[in-house]
Symmetry: C2
Subunit: 540 residues, 2 copies
């Protein structure tokens, strides 16, 4: 027997309809590529998204067709999020920082029939267009005044010209909530990018989960600056979750340097922001250099890669900005865990609280987790044993577009490729990527733990720990270090610095100083490249 | 094309599994019917719910079977919520304050095959048992020591005896998320009660929506006291939403007098509570009489009937407890709107903020609303025009059990039976039940507005406004008043008190003083009975 409740699909269009109706005059502010600040309301955004839906239909976009974007965080990208998914088509947000051949691969694999792109990417698209086999329409996300006089892009259209030809009399269609809505490619360090295909149901459930008090804690009183890009796993759901609650949104456009981000936070009275550690590092350096403080920012969510404990301290102790360490994956929509405290932890001493916050947080309802050993046996949640992390839930991928990589699931669980501990309170701590874990004398050593110690040293700018072959112990860890400009530290000093901070048997064997560390297109440390660079290295 | 996300049903068992895993040592505290305080954790509650699932199966309860409860807010009732729904059966929480013939009607209509009940209700069940045609098993929710020595209840079983015979090795089954989970009857003032049948999907979505920052704002840092009964529309989702976030719960048992509630709040360091105005009135009176303050309570949600503005002021001004005025219906699971402020309102002056808070709040995402005139035409959200309120959403009823009352929907919308205004910010204000609205000279007069003025008078305990026939204006309002003990106010003084507070044409024509006002079994003012009592009344 079924319940007697209305059978209404969870659709992305429902989010913007709700914001229009209930938060019609709340603002969406964008620092544009063209330079100026653009501001409008949810009501106007919804009207323009409806107009854009008609533009898309005019371009021949139908249910399930893929539409690509190469764009920063801004209002036109926001309109595309809602218009494309709203008509049942699929938005494929492509990371413009990828290598050109990866972008080409993604667009061809996704079979994007239309490509929308920001002014910054005209040269890129000019270069790529001959290889983008499926794209029939190129639309530049700008107005007539900013259109290039000459271009090799075939049949280039102007976004605002197309918009001007349509009106906003449009009703969002209804369809099955499992319908595909958005497509993000994971940029692995090996192999081709793989397409993660989100549905309307997964996106709306994820927005509910993300807005919860112990997750991103979003309300109509917030002013939210998504620094995390809209081409990076849906900007961690913010364009959806902020719309769900009616928070004011501030889109930063292309400039994410410390000065630009700080000025936008102050001008727009931002209360909450979210991004990767690299961006926050630039912001903290700007604040320190100019002795600035925040007047409205009260919290920030940090994820994408592990947040160094020193960064948590700097935000909280020096700037009274609460830090929420988060973890997720493109395959998880992406939110998995957020490091909000429980009642019993709020009364702990500062150091004990910081120890909790250094972990990646606990699972949002909707995300199930388990850790398993090499035989697949489940391990206890004791904060000590570490194993391969597996996840399950309605906003977690069951596979990749076109069956790429076969069926990733194991017994219904998605293997994250991360190695982690989980403590008795459910707090996850990522200790490694499974391919980066160092196996020494039968024990696993966490490279992230060792990196955290190194970056806590005042002379260390960045550090990477990798395993190198060892005749007796199989592998031993070494730490590869970039020193801060005009700071000095010796090998012996740094090794000494580890004493008492990690177990003796997991101490690095050596320190290698380098001028810079290799990173992937998404800004993550590439240990694969690092291991290749150091393939001739020998332990002393 | 569908998204490639895991196809996992939203099930109620998922809530308690999540709480066990992530909040295993968080407490659930109950003031029991037997008198003492019982405390255990989510982990223990989950273990006992699994044990209870086996008890139910042992009693022959299968998918979709209905199981009735007559019980206060307590841990055994909580276990029944999860065990019954968890195995795919349906929990029918019956309001023990209804007339015995209504309880009989409900249990027979629901075809409850088993009835669980608290010790308080032994005499009631002894009286009703001969009429409860479908009930095969009676289970008293207590231990062996408290079982009655002699009873006429056939084949009476002891809850703890049944539990002791089972173990907790039980896996929750998986099934379609639309499966029925819970059944609540609405107690209208006319006709038979009608059964609202919730599903797993609607219940889980409602718990997500209810936990949001701008709704009940529930987190793992909260200690929540659900004063609203678990037999009253799922205690406004608290047993589900608190479990979703891992909040500590405090169940008050049968004693809801000011002293009992206050002591429990202080002892257990409650941060949030929820209930109807009547209970809060008793609590405020107790605080005033003994000059007490709250040490941890920071907010309270008030709904069920309109919260008098004076009560909002008392909580906020005198006790620093933030009030959230809420509105919903049994047919809405029940949450519809919550009166949390928006950013622009937090900076308003106190009086302007209080004016916003006096309204019933704005829609949670998942609830669509509209107001229509007598022809069904939609009215603007201007805070002035009032019309029949219609709602739509995935946790709103599409009908009643066994098709009772036909198809209530109009064009896919559920007519609430309330008359309301909605302002440009989406804040709802209920002005009347549609059957109570007073139509005078072609204009509608809100009885609730006039009642709010009366109860703001220091000598008035309670007031009800009804329309009485008038030869020229069709109807005119009169106010029926219960004076406070040892307080005096005359007819002329009270009519004078309205001057300047309401429009001239909506002023009450007369004041009628009575010793008490009639209420329904759920504690709501019964205007139907009042109109019958005053059927011979003539305007002066």
């Amino acid at each position: 027997m079924n319940g007697l409740m209305m059978d209404m699909p969870l659709l992305i269009s429902g989010l913007i309809k709700h914001a229009d109706r209930n938060h019609g005059d709340t603002e969406i502010v964008s620092k544009t590529v063209e330079g100026e600040i653009q501001r409008y309301t949810y009501r106007e955004a919804h009207a323009r998204a409806r107009r854009l839906a008609k533009v898309l239909q005019g371009l021949g976009v139908k249910m399930s067709d893929r539409v690509g974007t190469l764009a920063w965080n801004g209002y036109r990208h926001y309109e595309l999020y809602y218009a494309i998914s709203g008509i049942g088509a699929v938005i494929n947000t492509i990371n413009p920082r990828l290598f050109p051949e990866q972008i080409t691969y993604i667009s061809n694999h996704a079979e994007n029939m239309t490509l929308f792109f920001d002014l910054s990417f005209v040269p890129l698209v000019e270069k790529l267009a001959p290889q983008l086999k499926t794209v029939q329409h190129y639309v530049l996300m700008t107005d007539r005044a900013h259109m290039p006089a000459v271009t090799t892009i075939p049949n280039l259209r102007c976004y605002e010209d197309l918009m001007a030809k349509e009106d906003e009399r449009f009703e969002w269609p209804s369809f099955d909530e499992r319908t595909a809505a958005a497509l993000c490619y994971t940029s692995g360090t090996t192999g081709n990018p793989k397409g993660v295909l989100y549905g309307h149901r997964s996106t709306v459930l994820h927005a509910y989960g993300g807005a919860l008090p112990d997750a991103l804690n979003l309300s109509a009183c917030d002013v939210v600056l998504p620094v995390v890009p809209m081409f990076h796993a849906n900007a961690w759901s913010l364009p959806y979750a902020c719309t769900l609650v009616g928070a004011k949104m501030v889109f930063p456009g292309p400039h994410l340097d410390g000065k630009s981000v700080y000025e936008l936070i102050e001008q727009e009275q931002v209360t909450m922001s979210a991004g990767v550690p690299t961006v926050w590092l630039m912001l903290l350096q700007h604040l320190a250099a100019h002795q600035l403080k925040f007047s409205t920012l009260n919290r920030t969510v940090i994820g994408g890669s592990a947040c160094p404990p020193a960064m948590i301290r700097a935000f909280q102790d020096e700037y009274s900005v609460q830090v929420f360490h988060a973890w997720g994956m493109t395959e998880m929509s992406p939110l998995g865990t957020v490091g909000s405290l429980k009642a019993k932890q709020t009364v702990l001493g500062k150091e004990a609280r910081y120890a909790v916050q250094a972990k990646q947080g606990r699972g949002i309802f909707g995300v199930e987790m388990k850790i398993v050993d090499e035989t697949g046996m489940e391990l206890p949640w004791d904060g000590k044993r570490f194993g391969d992390l597996m996840v399950k839930g309605p906003w977690i991928a069951s596979g990749y577009l076109k069956g790429e990589g076969g069926n990733p699931l194991q017994d219904g669980w998605f293997p994250t490729g991360d190695v982690a501990t989980i403590d008795a309170d459910g707090y996850l701590q990522i200790t490694d990527r499974s391919k980066d874990v160092i196996k020494s004398g039968g024990e696993w050593i966490s490279s992230i733990d060792l990196e955290n110690v190194a970056v806590a040293h005042p002379a260390v700018q960045e550090a990477a720990v990798i395993g190198v072959p060892h005749p007796k112990w199989d592998e031993r860890p070494i730490v590869v270090v970039v020193k801060k400009a005009s700071q000095e530290v010796s090998r012996a000093e740094l090794l000494k610095f580890y004493e008492g901070k990690v177990a003796k048997w997991s101490m690095p064997e050596d320190v290698v100083f380098v001028a810079e560390l290799p990173h992937t297109a998404t800004g993550k440390l590439s240990k694969l490249t690092l291991r290749q660079q150091l393939k001739d290295y020998k332990l002393p």
